[in-house]
């Protein structure tokens, strides 16, 4: 298939359809609405389910229901909508059913605004609801990557019977870039063996998040933690640019990583040995890989479109010895390459100055 000029939100919706999404439930919210809009047109065309719920709370519970029945299902929203879905997310996690969520993040807190932001990092990577669990969180930085990760989201959700979040900021949702869509996948002909499909002659299936006894719930938590450990081992994804000989490394994802990429290119022209480390999975976070980088790099800069959320994971990765600085733009502002360049030049000067004094 040839490359087409695609808008992020539309590309994601179409990629989900081609990945075999059978049901979509959602509620409109900027800057994600084109995704829902595309679904509203395409899903009925294909004889699949599209339903605009009366709220995000209803939408997430419809997702829970469809997932429990073994249907390949997703929803999408933006930050305040994702906040409303927290209870349902936790129930889905407690029931171990696969479900895919897309969060096109906007500025917060509160109703905030509709501009691009990475304000939900903590919310989606740390739990995304009450209780001990973590969704897999994928963060694309181009429209092609958003398409590819959308397809992967369904595969991972089903493989681990878990929640997969794809998070992007409004800029990737709204922008257009040439990209190639995958071929249309055939829909599964059978439901998974654990799904609620009407008992018939088989053994009873139970999908629930209620485990009233303390010990049964503790046991379930152990199983969940074991599963998370497997995901942590198998599903790490990240990208590196010029880190081989870097003495200073920028850590960034999504649109912030694109801006950092431009800055790194410019700074390399000035012979400043700077590299870019880009987590693609925000959970599992590449703690170990970033930590190994810290064995030979002592200076890091976390660039985020928020007031400093991923920086704590960067700190945990690189240890107390490394120096970490932060450049962030909360409130829906995309940082400029020039800001990052200025910051890195300053850090590079300080680093050289310190080396001279020592």
């Amino acid at each position: 298939m040839a490359k087409e000029l695609l808008k992020g939100n539309v590309a994601i919706a179409e990629a989900a359809i081609r990945a075999g999404c059978q049901a979509y439930f959602g509620y409109p919210i900027t800057p994600q609405t084109e995704l829902l809009e595309h679904m509203s047109k395409r899903m009925p065309e294909l004889g699949r389910t599209f339903l605009q719920a009366e709220s995000e709370v209803a939408a997430v519970n419809m997702v829970y229901g469809a997932a429990s029945a073994g249907v390949r299902v997703m929803t999408s929203s933006s930050s305040p909508g994702i906040s409303l879905m927290q209870e349902g997310l936790s129930y889905i996690a407690g029931s171990e059913v696969p479900a895919v969520f897309v969060d096109v993040m906007r500025g917060g807190p509160g109703l905030g605004n509709i501009q691009p932001s990475q304000s939900d990092y903590n919310q989606v990577t740390k739990t995304a609801g009450h209780g001990d669990y973590r969704p897999i969180v994928l963060a694309p930085s181009t429209i092609q990557e958003a398409i590819d990760l959308m397809v992967l989201s369904f595969d991972l959700a089903e493989k681990y019977r878990t929640i997969v979040f794809m998070v992007l900021d409004g800029a990737i949702g709204q922008m257009m870039e040439p990209a190639e869509l995958p071929p249309m996948r055939e829909l599964p002909t059978e439901r998974p063996s654990w799904a609620l499909t009407g008992k018939g002659n088989r053994d009873k299936n139970i999908v629930t998040s209620i485990r009233l006894g303390a010990q049964p719930l503790a046991d379930f938590n152990d199983i969940l933690q074991e599963k998370l450990a497997v995901i942590e081992k198998n599903e790490l994804r990240y990208d590196e640019l010029y880190t081989d000989d870097a003495e200073l490394v920028i850590v960034a994802y999504g649109t912030a990583a694109r801006v950092a990429h431009t800055a790194v290119k410019h700074l390399r022209e000035e012979n400043i040995p700077v590299g870019l480390f880009r987590p693609i999975t925000l959970w599992p976070f590449p703690y170990q890989q970033l930590g190994e980088l810290a064995d030979r790099v002592s200076t890091f800069l976390s660039v985020e479109m928020n007031a400093g959320q991923m920086i704590h994971d960067v700190r945990e990765s690189v240890g107390r010895q490394a120096e970490i600085e932060f450049l962030g733009r909360p409130g829906g502002i995309i940082p400029l390459p020039e800001e990052i360049e200025e910051k890195v030049r300053d850090m590079w000067r300080q680093k050289n100055l310190a080396a001279q004094i020592n």
């Binding site: 000029l5 900027t30 509709i114 800029a171 257009m176 870039e177 694109r258 950092a260 995309i334 020039e338």
Partner: protein, 184 residues
């Protein structure tokens, strides 16, 4: 080589489409391209703008502080972007709606009566095309023929009856940019 272009004007002036046309043309020429609209509160004030980047390398940041080219179709856009064009850059001004003049000497300025040209060929809605024509005269990102081909290839079929008029407006805008235009 990377060129950043901001196109700005009132909603309804075809700002977003003009940007998409440049983006398609860049893509058709095998270049890397990005297009990003402003979709924030400024939209609610009736102005619209988009940023297009055309590059022979992978594109990082999709937005810029200072563009190489600004096409300003109304006065608020002139006021906002005229000071921001990079030295050595190009400013295309729609003089049908912008009465102010730029005093900058470090950029190339092309004054195009875009609404008037478009109206002369049938509809003021084609003002965006007059401005694009003028841009190609000063910054040949691709040839006028290539852009016309792109317009033909990507304009929805149901709008193909407008191709001929759009072509004439583009051509005339181009001649204004070249300084060879005779009044229509």
């Amino acid at each position: 080589m990377e060129t950043s272009i901001i196109i700005a004007g009132f909603g309804g002036q075809g700002v977003l489409f003009a940007g998409q046309l440049l983006t398609y043309a860049g893509m058709d020429q095998g270049q890397h391209v990005t297009w990003i609209p402003s979709y924030g509160p400024e939209m609610r004030g009736g102005t619209a703008n988009c940023t297009v980047i055309i590059s022979d390398e992978e594109i990082g940041a999709p937005t810029v502080a200072r563009p190489d080219v600004a096409i300003v179709l109304n006065l608020p856009s002139f006021e906002k972007y005229e000071p921001l064009v990079k030295p050595g850059g190009v400013l295309i001004v729609n003089t049908s709606l912008v009465s102010e003049q730029s005093e900058r000497t470090d950029i190339t300025i092309v004054e195009v009566p875009a609404n008037q040209i478009a109206k002369d060929f049938g509809s003021a809605k084609m003002a965006n095309m007059a401005a694009l024509g003028a841009l190609l005269a000063k910054r040949p990102l691709f040839s006028l023929d290539d852009l016309l081909q792109t317009l033909h290839d990507h304009l929805p079929k149901r709008k193909h009856h407008l191709l001929e008029a759009n072509k004439l407006v583009l051509q005339h805008g181009y001649e204004v940019g070249m300084g060879t235009a005779v009044p229509a």
